[in-house]
Symmetry: C2
Subunit: 149 residues, 2 copies
């Protein structure tokens, strides 16, 4: 486990890459950001993180718990409830993740504009306007497939 | 495209979610971080971003270019070469991504320790030591499958 080399996320053999992989997922980022405001129960997380399935929420919470970022606590209520909270390690990620969320919320119109321009320039994607031409990666991939056909 | 609601990454219908999705991938994060040091050609990126396949590198570069984060430039050399560089929009992501990379490189031993402890407590995963018990999500998922069997 101990490495003589300096830890680097660019090295696929380094555990730092694994750590990056764990947190570089939209569900992990959204769940950790949601929990930054305080402990939450499963149902509240399901409502807050729009679009997440119960299966994906459970799996992501399990991975985050297993790696020490989230703690699971059973409340002694009737019926007993489970709540999730950030551990100190999970909290230490807060600033970095918040930075990504804020960047996305501030800059998405620039990405949308760049994508529309790019697709129009390549003579594709202009058939459907605005966001309805689906997500950034879908639109670009579809265009690529169209060009190859 | 214009929304009356405040943009939120928690809203699956908001373009801010799409923007987060584009950048919340280990390959996008690693490629954008690599390019933060200056323009690079395909071969140099392939060597720098350990473990990436040519196919995944090409696809990710295309998505980042299509969304205005990376610019592709053909150099008038013999033979002609292509280099990739960050756009000003791509550069604006730098601080947030650098924060994630540094967090991973600084904290992976804590994740490794938490995971080993968690798996040992559940009576699984202690069969194989250290990092050889594979990545954070694999180890946790394998444990979960073992518990269900």
């Amino acid at each position: 486990m101990a490495k003589s080399k300096k830890p680097s996320v660019f090295d696929p053999e380094c555990s730092a890459r694994d750590a990056l992989e764990l947190i570089a997922s939209k569900w992990a980022i959204l769940i950790l950001t949601a929990l930054a405001d305080g402990p939450m129960r499963n149902g509240a997380l399901l409502r807050k993180v729009g679009g997440v399935s119960q299966k994906m929420l459970t799996q992501t919470l399990r991975d985050l718990e297993c790696n020490g970022l989230v703690a699971r606590k059973t409340l002694q209520s009737v019926p007993p409830h489970v709540e999730y909270r950030l551990t100190p390690l999970g909290k230490s990620l807060g600033a970095a993740l918040g930075g990504l969320d804020r960047w996305a919320e501030r800059n998405f119109p620039r990405l949308d504009a760049a994508r529309a321009q790019h697709l129009a320039r390549r003579g594709s994607g202009a058939r459907r306007g605005g966001r309805s031409q689906s997500t950034p990666t879908e639109a670009c991939s579809r265009q690529h497939i169209a060009l190859m056909e």
